[in-house]
Assembly symmetry: D3
Homo-oligomer: 237 residues x 6
């Protein structure tokens, strides 16, 4: 039995509220259960120096947690004077994941920065950030296309992410914090709406797992990301 | 005529949604027009070293803006590696203002940290942070009193803040961003619900003002903070 | 009775020694009682990027305290790796105050940086920095005018600053450290030689004050800044 | 055809020179082709605060690259004032991987820090660091056991890592830099000597892959890590 | 001919004004020509952790330059976020030099921090800092002895420093900035009042020198430091 | 008797293995007894801004120690967020020393960065870095000359460095760590192959020395650097 009473292969309730803030070219508040992430996409004309003049676009991401998004208050990273290792690792993952779903030629030489800020955390914030981040990105690109600045759609397929893991010996989908903090193995799966793989990370801390368990996690992840992709499409209509 | 069509002495619409996040001992989302600030109050048993053993409590504040809270994306302070001068100035102001309304003997030797994070900015974020921050503080203190950890109420009177300024030659209440960015003189007034002054800051950039204008700003500020104090009380019931 | 034996409305002895250092375009050592601040004004051809090409000038300020300017040694900020919040707040105030007295069109596209370094502190260092900083600025501008680089005087009126506060229940002028550390309310008033207001900051820590007390502080401040403006003019002849 | 002329499932030549430096409790220089990493294991009595008093041990890792380990000189991280995101990500991975192979009860309340410093880089430095890091750890633990400080062996099974990827449309084992910089998909596989999984990371940058390709990479990884585990055992005799 | 018209073996005019600031236990303003350094000595009960409980004292130094001490304004180190390499090198030198003249057993377990802040620079600031720093230290120790906190004098012999160098092919004493910036070889000599050596640093940038030239510099340095030691003693009476 | 059993004027065994890494334009691993330093020279077309367009070349150096190069593990400087004072001092010394032996006109407008990374430390790492650094520099310049990019040899004479000091009352050559940590006086001598002086640093910590002792150290240093210069030449053939 899962602490939340969910079935082993059952995701938490998901909601995606678009245009949550007014300034960003694209934005949404994604809720996966009690995990709430505000995602914004900002279009900037300037690209990183290593692609200047190439005609290619760039998508990057930044991630943050409000100090009291968690059960006990964490130190504010801006006050600490640097982003922690976990933050850096997560924002690099979000950026790679979103870029994998972008046709950078079609995007043209501009940068879109996706900011994912966790207002409330209950496990799975990096997956929620990717799924919500894609929605913000989609909305920003829509604006570019409506304005005629981009002709061909650079986003062919949604990018969605979900966690799977081994909790109390069972393979479960979409771990919340009580499960995550007890799980021996924890994986994040990033896939396209059409079922292709973008990134897979499975990790055991003080434990090991078998190839068979890995395959069962993959099965659940395919189910989860395909459901999320439908919600992403619905939210962007 | 003000850009928003408001009367000279008219505040923006204000709403205060309490318990916006679940982990903090007190929290609210305050909206003053298009300025939206998430305020949380976190109770911690540990006090700063300079009052350890004194039996006195401490209230402090931290302030941040999400990178795309503003019209163009600002650099994330955690990535820049330090809080900017404006951030530091504002969070020191919020902390002083809230402390002025606290009976630190009654609070007892514990610290409450009020985090004010701007989700969307349209002028007046520091005033909204103080007004909303007091609500979060009030809710956290209520929890302490209900639990019997605090016997006498350390918050005798609400603390509210409002801006006044000289826009297009007129004294106006509660400047929004279009007014703020054009104003020659800009003031922030922090008062108690019973009309006492806590902090007054009036500042001219490339301009000067008269003592008479100062008095007119004070008049408007008294009106504004007294209205805000009523809303604070209503929100905390 | 004040610890120093001064009258309630009496400033400390003030002296302004110009050209205290030889390299800066303008410099002075200002002494307000035992508070000693070395102020230098440095002219640089380069302006901040946000006004490049505008034809407008810029005046900015930096503030520092030598580690043993105070009663007990403070950590050197350069060694600590950052300027503290108090330092940042003060140097922003000095810059704003001095800019308010400058005709930036007349100054032309150049920057003047005013450095205020406290050699010895006994309360009121920010006010002494502004008053002395204006003298250094005046001397540097004189040099520009003598050289014909600036035609019209961009400094129409002196800028001077003084503190007032409520000490032992009395409204007093120009608090020294023993008063400042005990005062319930503390205000800094920045005015022009002709009596116009530039910036007013009144602040209570753990206390409140009335509008009537505020007006009494304003009265003293007008007296103090008008006396200081006379001394500034005399020093620059 | 691979640039190096290797078979698709062929690793580079591997050598492990133990006790490369004299001060560390365990050390080796591991060479995987032209990738050379110096690994040292340092035993310290102090553990991180979150496990103090628990009786459990801790293993952690740090990673660095000499500035000219690479084809063009990179900025020294100590001079830049912080470790880059890639460095942080890699050292967290090494630490997790090694910890997964440690019985922390058997280790007892002490910390072993494994430093992996890349003297020369040609792709696959994180995998070489894990494989060589385990050898350094093994040697340090041997010292503890010989001294009687640890009774039961806390390292039951070697931990080894190898990369696989899709290069020019082919699934290949142990990518060198020319392959790595062109690969559409790149994975790192960390396994025990007995074939259990510890961590799997597969990542596509601007591309996607199928579950079938994932399985082929897993097959190669099992072959590679099992060969490496034999070499680790041989080196530690 | 030297730019200043001085003889080859002639120092600049030296003055030492003691008790320049009131808070420090010892202080002086030392002027060597146009080089002016404010030196303060601060007594603190706490010693560095590596000598805690040893009964030994510690003397350390910090060095800084005001931004406009030099001909063109330098960036403030506190604003830059770190002390530059030159600053670090100089303050380590000052600390070593002063410690060499201290009987740390006689001083007892306390720390004296000597701060040397350059108000105006014209070459030779590190030597002036050492010579003036010793005077500040002497005055602070006098206070300890007068109070009976130290019984035996820990300062047996003055420590003084002077520069010598090769300017326009000639060996000269006490280089000022115009000489220093042109000199091929530059040396700093730190000696006791009785003629013993504490530290010698001779350095050529893009040049070399002979052992004979080294000996001539030593001769001048002996003359210079012996004159300075007399002035130090006179100042401390 | 020296701890190592060496004669007073006897250096440790020295070996210089060139081309230790493949990417750098010049590299060597120098061993002076148990002190092992990896030196690489990297040619870059870009020079520091202060010589841009001058036609002159630049040589600079950076220094680092692997965390477990020493007997107990030191904190990694990249993790600490800055280079320590000792590191900064040493790398400035290496850069100055190498530049003194370079004809910067002949080198032409390019920069060579010499990285000296200590793999294992046993005293004298700065001297080994200079001696080995010159070899790496020599090899890199050879490459420039072979390619015809440099016509006239900018390195006329080797630059070598050795330590001398006073250990147990005796003047000794090339101190190892057990001697260095006990020595009352410690000197570093940098000379050319033809016996000219480049830099001399003699330093006493809590002690003093005589001019006669200084001369004896100089004698030993001449012997040591002349032997090292022969080995440098032999290694570069």
């Amino acid at each position: 039995m899962r602490p939340s009473g969910r079935e082993l292969n059952q995701m938490r309730d998901v909601s995606i509220e678009t245009s949550f803030t007014k300034h960003a070219e694209g934005s949404c508040l994604i809720k996966m259960g009690d995990t709430h992430v505000l995602c914004t996409a900002s279009i900037e004309p300037r690209v990183p120096s290593f692609i200047k003049g190439s005609g290619l676009g760039w998508v990057t991401a930044e991630y943050g947690m409000l100090p009291r998004a968690t059960n006990t208050r964490m130190r504010r990273e801006a006050a600490a004077g640097k982003q922690g290792g976990r933050t850096v690792e997560i924002q690099r993952l979000i950026g790679r994941a979103l870029r994998a779903g972008v046709d950078r030629v079609a995007l043209g030489e501009r940068q879109i920065t996706v900011d994912c800020d966790v207002l409330q955390a209950d496990g799975g914030t990096r997956c929620a950030s990717i799924t919500g981040g894609w929605v913000a990105l989609r909305l920003a690109v829509n604006k570019l296309m409506k304005a005629g600045d981009v002709k061909m759609d650079p986003l062919v397929d949604p990018v969605a992410a979900i966690s799977c893991g081994i909790y109390a010996g069972q393979i479960v989908l979409d771990l919340d914090y009580p499960e995550d903090s007890e799980a021996g193995v924890d994986g994040n799966f990033i896939m396209t709406g059409s079922g292709k793989l973008i990134e897979v990370q499975m990790s055991a801390e003080g434990s090991v797992f078998s190839r068979d368990q890995m395959n069962q996690m993959m099965d659940l992840a395919e189910k989860g990301t395909s459901e999320l992709a439908e919600m992403q499409k619905a939210a962007c209509v």
